[in-house]
């Protein structure tokens, strides 16, 4: 091995533990992902064993003692190793895969509660929670979900095909125009993980991510009740000035802040923007400074997104609007 090659292997060895991060299918924290996990390891182990076996046999066939080479040149190796062995192994794996998928499908029958609708948009997620009494609570770019409760996620799209993938919760499921695909997820532990769109959907596809916040069921119920409330009134005059600027610059034509005259439905609902873990579909951190940058420079941050850039606003006006939006917890 050249020193450079050693370096590459070392880099790989260092990078692999990174797979156990917030967006890793290798550290499942949901029922579906836990079901898929052994399937993944089984397939990986079998594939590794077969690779090893084939490598050894090839080595023997080339460099081995004459007796081995003669034995390996018989018809039996083609029939046995080329037909019987793959048919048996792949059939078993297929059946195993069906069983796992069946488990996923039957989980839908165990679904509790009204569930949540997620709409794929270029390039963000509209998230509509439903309360037990039938109210629809619109939010965006973040999914809150109760631990230990099988929750149906209705996946739809209003533009192109997207794919909803929260690796620690479950496998991918496409959002297909004209269809509603239901994915039932059940987190097994509380915590924050990350997901993203897994189907190329246009230029800023890579900037279409989201955070998943799994919460204990009672906490989730309390949170949903709070989320259903209108936005809090501006606490002081400077925040009130921010709301005024938000309205007078026409932001309400596209965005809703419940409890204010802003009722647009083209862009994400901002009623409780300040309580989310990220901005612009997990593209930016969520703070006043990032909000101001987004308002004035969003085409640079997420090219060709639907929002115009309000770069005519002065620094103080931007600060005022963004402080108000950040205060909407």
């Amino acid at each position: 091995m050249t020193p450079r090659r050693v370096g590459q292997v070392f880099a790989l060895a260092v990078a692999l533990p990174g797979c156990s991060g917030v967006q890793s299918a290798l550290s499942p924290s949901g029922r579906e992902a836990l079901d898929i996990d052994p399937l993944f390891w089984t397939v990986t182990a079998i594939a590794a064993a077969v690779t090893l076996l084939v490598t050894v046999l090839v080595g023997l066939a080339i460099y081995g003692p004459r007796s081995w080479r003669e034995r390996l040149s018989g018809d039996w190796i083609i029939v046995g190793g080329g037909i019987v062995f793959p048919v048996v192994v792949l059939t078993l794996l297929l059946v195993y895969g069906f069983v796992v998928m069946q488990a996923g499908a039957t989980r839908a029958a165990l679904a509790e509660g009204p569930g949540t609708t997620i709409v794929g948009k270029r390039w963000w997620w509209k998230v509509v929670y439903e309360t037990p009494d039938g109210r629809e609570i619109v939010s965006a770019n973040e999914l809150r979900i109760p631990v230990g409760r099988a929750t149906p996620l209705r996946l739809i799209t209003t533009d192109v095909i997207h794919s909803f993938w929260a690796p620690r919760l479950a496998g991918k499921l496409d959002m297909i125009p004209g269809r509603t695909n239901v994915l039932t997820v059940e987190p097994t532990e509380a915590g924050i993980s990350r997901g993203q769109c897994a189907e190329y959907c246009g230029g800023a596809h890579a900037l279409m991510s989201f955070f998943v916040i799994a919460m204990p069921a009672e906490e989730y119920d309390a949170w949903l009740e709070a989320e259903a409330q209108p936005a809090r009134e501006p606490r002081d005059e400077s925040l009130a000035a921010g709301l005024d600027l938000f309205l007078s610059n026409g932001c309400g034509a596209c965005h809703t802040i419940r409890g204010t005259p802003a009722a647009g439905v083209v862009g994400p609902d901002l009623t409780h923007l300040g309580s989310r873990h990220s901005l612009a579909a997990a593209t930016l951190p969520n703070n006043a400074e990032a909000i101001a940058n987004w308002i004035a420079d969003n085409q640079h941050i997420k090219p060709a997104n639907l929002m115009p850039e309000y770069d005519y606003l002065g620094a103080d006006e931007l600060a005022s609007i963004s402080s108000y939006l950040a205060s909407l917890e």
Binding site: T158, S248, N249, G250, G252, A253, P261, G264, E309, Y310
Partner: protein, 373 residues
């Protein structure tokens, strides 16, 4: 004897080279010595002039043929064209029944009086000339880049010149009567100058293409003038006017011509089923990512946002097209509207322009009936 023929050919080529070299040398000596007279009072030879005229005719008619012409059958267009003609063209071309100044007549070629232009040129050819200008004649190209739409009122007026005498021309141009040319220092006179095209609280604008200003806030009018002056908003009619104005004059004009801030409230949302235009204006079309017009231009709109009520359908349609094709997308605010207008289809623009225009008429009717009582 083939070699003798070759020799003759070679000799001929040498003589030709010598001849051409002398010709070029003579040309250089002629130009460098200053012997050629560029004086405007020294005419070209007749043959030169015929050649130049022929080249001009061919160039204009070949290029002019390709353009499509809007409907010019609209008295408002002739009026708007006359007003711009007075401001931009009359100094060189003279006015119907009155020749241009003797100073201009000393130009060579001298700008022709336009009495006969309607006979000499076709409508698309005139449009091409007004838009592109003519090289080496003193005829300038239209100043507003991308505003080919603006040349048609002027063409409509030129086509009407044969039926217009001096008295009628004065009636048409009214407050922009000759002699009252820019720059104008007196604020009240300047305001009247603006009102000649844009109308006032008492009189409608000269044409549906000139927006009335009384519904707009002083902040918006000031910003518009600033954008015209800075070349951030394109108009061959407005840019030359804004170029003559100082900041203070713009501020004074905006205050004098605009409505008091917040005085104009949008009409209430109509009850019942909405027409496609009203639907877009009030609700937009979220399925196609279209916000509503009044979402930004409504009751809560900021002071330097334009108000839509009072604008004619033709003006709205024209401006939406300019936003959509990016001509009105140079200023920061223009970019916001251009970003949204890019999503409008032809049908959307037609429907929404028709609705906004109708809004205006309904309001006029209501105001007229209120005045009558």
């Amino acid at each position: 004897m083939p070699h003798l023929r070759q020799l003759r050919l070679a000799r001929g080529a040498v003589w030709l080279a010598i001849f051409v070299s002398f010709g070029v040398l003579a040309g250089v000596v002629f130009i460098a010595s200053g012997a050629y007279n560029v004086a405007a009072n020294e005419r070209h030879f007749n043959i030169t002039e015929s050649l130049i005229t022929f080249a001009l005719d061919r160039s204009v008619s070949v290029r002019g043929e390709r353009r499509s012409v809007p409907d010019l059958d609209d008295p408002g267009l002739v009026r708007l064209g006359a007003l711009h003609f007075e401001n931009g063209c009359a100094a060189c071309h003279g006015r119907p029944g009155r020749p241009a100044s003797p100073i201009v007549q000393g130009m060579y070629p001298s700008p022709p009086p336009l009495d006969g232009a309607a006979r000499e040129w076709s409508v698309p050819e005139l449009g091409w000339i007004v838009h592109n200008g003519l090289k080496m004649t003193g005829m300038p190209a239209w100043p507003g880049k991308g505003r080919e739409d603006e040349v048609w009122p002027v063409v409509a007026f030129i086509m009407a010149i044969p039926e217009i005498d001096a008295a009628e021309y004065d009636t048409l141009t009214g407050p922009v009567a000759h002699g009252k040319s820019l720059p104008i220092r007196d604020p009240e006179t300047m305001a009247e100058f603006c009102e000649a095209c844009h109308g006032s609280a008492e009189s409608p604008p000269a044409s549906a293409l000139a927006p009335p200003l009384t519904n707009q806030s002083p902040e918006y009018l000031y910003r518009s003038l600033e954008e015209y002056r800075a070349g951030l908003r394109q108009s061959g009619m407005m840019e030359p006017i804004a170029a003559e104005l100082s900041d203070d004059q713009m501020r004074a004009l905006a205050m004098r011509l605009g409505g008091p801030p917040g005085a104009v409230k949008p009409p209430p949302i109509p009850a019942g089923r909405l027409s496609p235009g009203a639907e877009l204006a009030w609700r937009g079309d979220p399925a196609r990512d279209l916000p509503s017009c009044f979402g930004c231009h409504g009751e809560r709109a900021g002071p330097d946002f334009p108000r839509l009520q009072g604008l004619s359908g033709r003006y709205v349609a024209n401006q939406l097209e300019l936003f959509r094709n990016g001509v009105r997308g140079l200023s920061a605010q223009g970019r916001v509207m251009a970003h949204v207008a890019g999503r409008l289809s032809d049908d959307d623009m037609e429907a929404v322009a028709e609705y906004i225009g109708r809004l205006n008429r309904q309001e006029d009717l209501a105001a007229a009936s209120a005045r009558a009582q």
